[in-house]
Amino acid sequence: MSNRKIHPPRLADRFLQWFCSEEVLETLQGDLYELYERRRERRGKLLADIYYAFDVLSALRPFAFERKRSNSNYTTMFQHYLTISWRNLRVNRLYSLLNISGLAVGLTCGILLLLWISHELSYDTFHKNQPNIYQLMRHEVMSGEYFTGDVTPAPLGPSLKSGMPEVVFATRTLGAGKQLVNAGHENTYEAVLYADPDFFNIMTFPSVTGNAIEALNSPGSVVITERTAKKLFEHTDPIGKAITVNNTDEFLVAAVVRDVPTNSSIRFDIVAPFSGYEQNRKLKWDNNSFQTWIMLAPATNLLAFNEKIDGVVEEHLDNEEVHLFAFPIERLHLYGHFNNGKPDGGKIVFVYLVGALGVFILLLACVNFMNLATARSERRAKEVGIRKVIGAQRRIIVGQFLTEAMMITFFGLFLSIVAVNLLLPSFNELTGKDLSMSLANWQLWSSVLALGWVTGMVAGSYPAFFLSGFKPVQAVTGLGKAGKGASIFRRALVTFQFFVSIFLIISTIVIYVQLDHIQGRPLGYDQENLIELPVRGDMAKAFDLFKNDLLQVQGVTAVSAGGDNLIRVGGGLTGFQWPGKGPDEDFPINITWVHYDWVEASGLTMADGRDFSPAFGADSLACLVNETAARRMRLEQPVGTHLGDNNYIVGVVKDFVYNDPTSDPEPLVIYLGTNRISHIFVRFQNDQDWQKRIGQIEEIFGSYFPTYPFEMHFTKDEYQKRFEVIRSMRGMAILFSGLAIFIACLGLIGLSAYVAERRKKEVGIRKVLGATISNISIALSVDFLKPVILSFLLAAPLAGWLFDTGLDDIDYRIELSWWIFALAGGLALSLACLMVSYHAIKASTANSVESLRTE
């Protein structure tokens, strides 16, 4: 055969050359060429080509690339590190276990808190126009004080859009809360939001079917979320179907949008056109019930724009100072909190606190690692010495110990990822969030890896530099002592661990006691035996008859109704007139409307005067005030005093707790408003028959309002719901301070085991000379308790000062008493004793013969 070129399919040949190692390529390609030639001669080029391609693919096996393995010094060295680390892990099971579990617990906290923080930071970031979206807010100035809010009048949005060229889109929204929604057969309550068509231009809530913007253009159609669609129409196509809101307003579903993400500040199930809401109402500039959102043209100067709109609302009002401004949506969730006109953080404070908590707990785990590694350094000293003698530079030994730390950290990381996935459901319940570790979230995973890497570096760096610093001769001969510096450093680290732990325990106790204090606060009315039925749609019309029938039920002592549910009462209003009011004097007063017998049904007490009663003809002009209102208006004889133009006070209600359960009561004025009721109150006798009674009430309810599902709340339960946030904070505090002390204890176990072993001979000699077991175990333990006591002396005053300042913001607060600190210190100290004493006792009961015979 002549020496001519062989031309197999080029692509296949190139592929072969690409994936094959050189070693294999020569003979493999030779065989393939030979086969190719034979086939070409026998069967023609086409078939040979095809076979060739198949053969190349058939060679895609490990043998072809495996031999590419490099033999560089670095990889060999690295493999060696891993081998040594692995052996060390296996030899010292106890230490490995302590180290890995400490790091795993620390990393678990770290990842959970990372998830929480990243969810907080992601609020409202899903809007495509996010940088240009603003909410309009107002500073209202009263008696020189600034009150900031996000409620704006309805005409504001349209007037800005037409009058300001910078405003691209504007929408008003009104969150109407849960409304009765009826779709043929099903009655449910869904959150209804009224909005202008621009709502969907500004915000990113993508449509699944239909055009959401078009839908809001016609007053008769609505947009619903996928979840609502499934709930109301199951699997049928919802487009064009009719739904009824509150039995009165009928809409056709015109579009379905994706569910609102959990990290959205704006929440809704149904969006109905604002134009429809507006139709029968006269919404003027003095009615601040709506949110206004705008989208500005890119590159608008916010400062200049805010200056321009500052007086837009004010000019329509008399005698009120209102400054309007646009607040960016990207800052709304985290920074949208104001105090006297100045932004004062908001949720971002929590984010920082939680971040600090995570960092500290991780640091505790790192400290464990450092302590155990340096404490046991003598065991590795010979190894380091030999390595140095053979020629290892310090850099290389540092690398080795860092590798070891990384390996342990990544074991811990792996365990913690498993743990996080197991814990997430309960953590979600605790925090009321919907967090998950989805595999698709690469940012999350890369930050988790980064977290592991940083932890490994922090934990490993000190031991690495410490261990690599040994002098070879001393290390090998064993003459050098592990320096005094190292042992002081170890004590400092233990002190730090217990400092953090004790601080966290004190915080937990303070939160616990404060919450208890607030929950046990005397409310000023009787929450027991009181239920509340929400008034939906047109139910108010039948109230008088309904009330009479309810009063017939055995054991029902009073029935009334009101615009608010006793727990949240009223909205602040200014500009009240009362006799003796100074010219510059003004403060916001909460107002609410109630029905007859309200005081009796709520279980409030009158300080003076009387309740509203139909027995007095002109009660429609009467009003009640609470004690705070009477006091702040400086009314000496409140009953009979005229308030405003027409009203006069008929009674003073004793102060009761409403709105913020932690603050002093705010002034309140109560009017009679028989047509402004949204909650019915029913008071029972105090006995065991309440279940039967509720059944009877439900029956009566059904006969009056057959289309509404029966809803009922115990006012007491509703009140308790207000503490959910604090309760979840308390849960988190308990969880994380528990974990912190757990990690610190792990560290102590390790250190005490090490010391007990090192002082084995000393113990032996002491025993031979007549020391008792208790002498020795105390001697061994006391060493460790000193850092714990020192850390208590540092943590207690700091925590005391911090919490005393923090609690000052709360009107109804506890005083920090000594027992809180004593409990925290005692707890930490006794846990530490428990951990240390195990090894101390074990060492002191050991047989002296065994510890002394080898020398």
Partner: protein, 107 residues
């Protein structure tokens, strides 16, 4: 270490070919003797495995003008390879003897 069924066949082919055992030749022997037509990838993979196990040794031939100038790699049975073959054969024979009515005569 045990031999796989395919590895055993390849080993037999290497042995029967003597000095001429290289990829294509082994492939053709397998095809002629037992009607198996392994892909070249599977064959090479098996050969490298056998080499790792120590059943065969390999030696590269001189450059040729055929095959686009690529060298052949010749395989040789090692003593260990022969032992493995014998063991495999023995094992099978012992097993087969327990089957009644099976004719085991080789000629």
């Amino acid at each position: 270490m045990k031999l796989g069924a395919f590895e055993e066949l390849v080993l037999l082919a290497v042995g029967s070919l003597g000095d001429e055992a290289y990829g294509v030749a082994i492939k053709e022997t397998l095809q002629q003797k037992i009607g198996k037509n392994p892909s070249i990838g599977a064959l090479h993979s098996a050969l490298y495995r056998l080499e790792d196990k120590g059943c065969v040794t390999s030696e590269e031939g001189g450059a040729t003008t055929e095959r686009g100038g690529r060298r052949k790699k010749f395989y040789k049975l090692t003593a260990y390879g022969i032992t493995m073959l014998e063991e495999a054969n023995q094992l099978r024979m012992e097993f087969a003897r327990q089957v009644p009515g099976l004719n085991l005569s080789t000629e």
